[in-house]
Point group: C2
Chain length 194, copies 2
DNA sequence: TGTCTATCTGAACGTATGTTCAATTCAACC
DNA sequence: GGTTGAATTGAACATACGTTCAGATAGACA
């Protein structure tokens, strides 16, 4: 019978994931060793393989989980394209500021994914971009937005919004709500008709 | 006497730099070995140390050279803030699309810099940001721009413009000039007074 | 109390790492 | 044609890597 009280599997598993998240974000996937992760968890390297088949899967699961949560967490709200775009922008900033390490990894470590894993992650990312582009297309169709190219505007907006994670720190000059408002203002103006 | 004809130092040196640039961009600094760089150059690993004191300096020199060239290549043109902002935006896109590998490295490999090297690179980067912020401040002062926070607008604009390197490919649906124009249009609108 | 088994250790595997350096090569000069 | 010295080789150094696995450990059940 499996141990209940005193069983460590339910504790060690998440610990491994958390340690990998923190170390991959800080030092990079290639520069993080399994022994270093194990030390962080308080266990020998061999024990990690009870919780992940290999190092690559550890990275892949972090990325996939992140993007799946991102997709599950935001659906276009009822309302016109302008309200939908505002919802997207504000949610994007909140979601990303809440998970700076995952955001960092999901972008920086793409090249360390094996081909079939990369394909999966890339598809999830494109799905997210399509959500925004659909909002922009709808807005252009009804004349609320004026953008020469919705695909390009999609990339520009996401790059701009995601960039907030590179400099924002809690306790700084501006709080999250203020930052969110200022970014939304720039996005709104950038795609505005007229 | 040093060999002139037949001397390889003037050839091998740049080759080392180019191979490092290409491999760091493709596989990452941590995942690139000195032996791999040497193989690309067509030389044994030991020979690399005639051209660089160590691997870290190879990375640092690439980054510093890139940022120093960026700073040397653009000075605010004569004219009002709007013309200066347009100059900045168009130059930023051109410069970055011309050097996708250096751009990639200069952002991705920051964490692999030793502390004193990081300090130098960070100062150069901040100098570049200040150039843009000064333009924005001047525009706000004369009422040409309306941005609630020039520092934040600086970061947003740079993130948006630099993002073009992540998706743009020559021979795609839009050429460089078209992309440059569309991005400039969004930047202009995003900070416009009105 | 004794058995079971999930959990973990610790050593080992082959391979790779950045860097150093004595020895070698070979084109250019006297 | 012999000498010079810059350019390069190739082996060696200590250390680290991801992964495997036989064996030890210890909490839960009978």
């Amino acid at each position: 019978m499996a141990r209940k009280t005193g069983s460590h599997a339910d504790i060690t598993g998440p610990k491994v994931r958390d340690a990998a998240l923190r170390l991959f974000a800080r030092d990079g996937f290639a520069a993080t060793s399994m022994r270093r992760i194990a030390a962080e968890v308080g266990v020998q390297a061999g024990a990690l393989y009870l919780y992940t088949p290999d190092k690559q899967t550890l990275l892949f699961d972090l990325m996939r989980g992140h993007l799946e949560e991102l997709l599950a967490d935001w659906q276009p709200p009822a309302g016109g394209p302008l309200a939908q775009l505002e919802g997207f922008a504000r949610h994007h900033i909140q979601f990303h500021l809440d998970r700076p390490e995952l955001v960092f990894i999901a972008y920086m470590e793409l090249r360390n994914l094996e081909p079939q894993n990369f394909t999966v992650i890339e598809a999830l990312r494109r799905e997210y971009e399509t959500r925004l582009e659909d909002v922009l297309k709808a807005g252009v169709a009804v004349g609320v937005f004026a953008v020469p190219d919705t695909k390009l505007a999609t990339m520009a907006i996401i790059a701009m919004l995601t960039g907030v994670t590179t400099w924002f720190r809690d306790g700084g000059r501006l709080d999250r709500t203020a930052v969110e408002g200022i970014y939304w203002d720039m996005v709104r103006k950038a795609v505005a008709a007229r």
